[in-house]
């Protein structure tokens, strides 16, 4: 199945009741799939007039207490940032898909990872975070969207799948897990009080500074729990590795084959792959690189993950970078060359 379609099907199985979107390459298959399937399931598909409207429709549906999702690609995600900030500030759960393409500006339509900073540091104004999952296979597109819905509900925060054009278009066999329960009890929802409870208010406005501060403190306390419970990373041949490649998403697959080839050549290489980009799996990265001599970060960006890796290893070992950008996908050979350079230097 195609990555984008598998993700859409998984969202439906995860109980997504409302999907709102606006066409943009390379994620349009998600909207097309939803348009076909959602009405047949008695659910909502709506093509909005803009990404701004789509994310605000998500805000409305999430307020009503149902699982809601939107998908887009880089320029469209920028338009959603206002709504995402309101969603976070109102403690609403939802799922946002970004199938990244090259930027800045209109950029290109080829795969990219250059929205890492936006997703993990600043998807909107104010103090807030999103859960960010980075799948690296079609199967993970499926598994992560289910997890994203569950954890968004659990922690009452927006969750993002940060994919890229490569994963979106890739065809791979997938299996869909049995889902037992895809609904969460939401006593806070504005779904009509039925004269049975006091009225609920969904709101992000707090004019008293100390009240707003208190809510931000509380939200960040919740984030501390997320940081404890959610970080995920894959480690591969890191135990005895001298040089460890750090890569996520589709690039991690390329890096993995470079690591294989390096091993065949006698270079002790390994791979660490962040699966959650926020919370960043710093502990796992730190542990798995303890005995390494250096790290090579490789991304389809100008090195947006490098600082997070440096912080994770507390700058104790050199962190190098090799990246392609603008939609250019690095080849295993290119990554292998970098590994060889670093391996040879030791």
């Amino acid at each position: 199945m195609k990555g984008n379609e598998a993700l859409a099907e998984a969202a439906i199985r995860a109980g997504c009741r409302c999907y709102f979107g606006y066409p943009i390459t390379p994620q349009t298959e998600i909207a097309a799939y939803m348009a076909k399937r959602m009405p047949k399931e008695g659910r909502v598909f709506l093509q909005a007039e803009s990404e701004i409207a789509a994310i605000n429709m998500v805000l409305g549906a999430a307020s009503a207490g149902v699982r809601a999702m939107t998908s887009s690609s880089s320029p469209g995600i920028s338009l959603k940032s206002e709504g995402v900030s309101y969603i976070a500030g109102s403690d609403l759960p939802c799922v946002i898909i970004n199938v990244q393409r090259g930027g800045p500006g209109l950029g290109g339509i080829q795969p990219s990872q250059s929205d890492y900073w936006q997703a993990t540091k600043a998807l909107g104004h104010g103090d807030f975070q999103l859960l960010v999952y980075a799948p690296s296979s079609v199967q993970e597109m499926v598994d992560m969207v289910i997890k994203a819905f569950d954890n968004a509900d659990k922690y009452r925060m927006p969750a993002m799948i940060l994919a890229d054009g490569l994963l979106g278009q890739m065809m791979e066999p997938v299996s869909f897990p049995e889902i037992q329960n895809n609904q969460t009890y939401k006593p806070w929802a504005t779904n009509g009080h039925g004269n049975k409870r006091p009225h609920n208010i969904i709101n992000s406005l707090f004019l008293q500074a100390d009240q707003l501060e208190k809510l931000n403190f509380e939200r960040f306390k919740r984030y501390e729990i997320v940081k404890e419970e959610c970080p995920e990373a894959e480690t591969y041949m890191t135990e005895d590795a001298d040089i460890i490649v750090a890569a996520y998403g589709a690039v991690a697959r390329i890096a993995k084959s470079a690591v294989h080839r390096a091993r065949e050549m006698g270079i002790k290489a390994g791979l660490v792959r962040p699966i959650t980009l926020w919370p960043f799996p710093s502990e796992i990265i730190k542990k798995s690189t303890e005995n390494a001599k250096s790290i090579l970060v490789t991304e389809m960006s100008m090195g947006q993950m490098v600082d997070d890796i440096k912080l994770a290893v507390e700058c104790k070992i050199p962190v190098h970078f090799y990246g392609r950008t603008g939609g250019v996908v690095p080849t295993p050979d290119e990554v292998l060359n970098e590994i060889k350079k670093l391996g040879g230097a030791q």
Binding site: G60, A61, G192, I201
Partner: protein, 251 residues
Amino acid sequence: MAVVFEKPKSLIDTAMHYCPGCTHGIIHRLICEVIDEMGIEGDTIGVCPVGCSVMAYDYFACDMIEAPHGRAPAVATGVKRALPDKYVFTYQGDGDLAAIGTAETVHSATRGENIVVIFVNNTIYGMTGGQMAPTTIPGQITQTTPYGRDTKTAGFPVKICEMLSALDGVALAQRTSVDSVPHIRETKNAIRKAFDNQKNNRGFSIVEILSTCPTNWGLTPVESMERLRTECIPYFPLGVYKDITETEEKK
């Protein structure tokens, strides 16, 4: 003793933050009277975006959502699509609905979104201290039109009811005012009609209400009512711009 006049049940008994003489309060009350009459408080969700009425969630006893500036119709769309059996209304200012939120307004209208939009047109940005709104009347002095709105540079006011009545998805587009008792009655009837339309799945209903902003108009409450009559109503004529129930009856 017989009680002849009461606060509507769905209007929360609390002090409002509106300025003296501001007609936001009257409009709140009219909406709540309709909600009470229809007995739908428990089934209603209100959406109030940024503007002087941003804190209306403290006044309406039904479930309430505070929306980003201009986005209330999109938020309301999300709620209504998720909960088609509930009543959903938005309460928006002129800056909100006719400037920053124009796209959301036009597209929720043209989709025939089955919601009620209460549009409070006070020809000014009240909350931010009295700047030009899309509805500011030519010649009107505001903070950002200190010499009066000059149509050569600032263009012309947006006439929402006239515009939206051209869209097929619209069930009701009516402009009213709250300057007098008859007009207040008319406003209430329009709001009732809008909610009835929602009940009968007729589509998008908008009630544009010409309203005062004594504070930023620099007028007393009495003078403000006078301005509604002498300046606002002539520029924004009251009336039913579209009502599909009327055309249905004629058929």
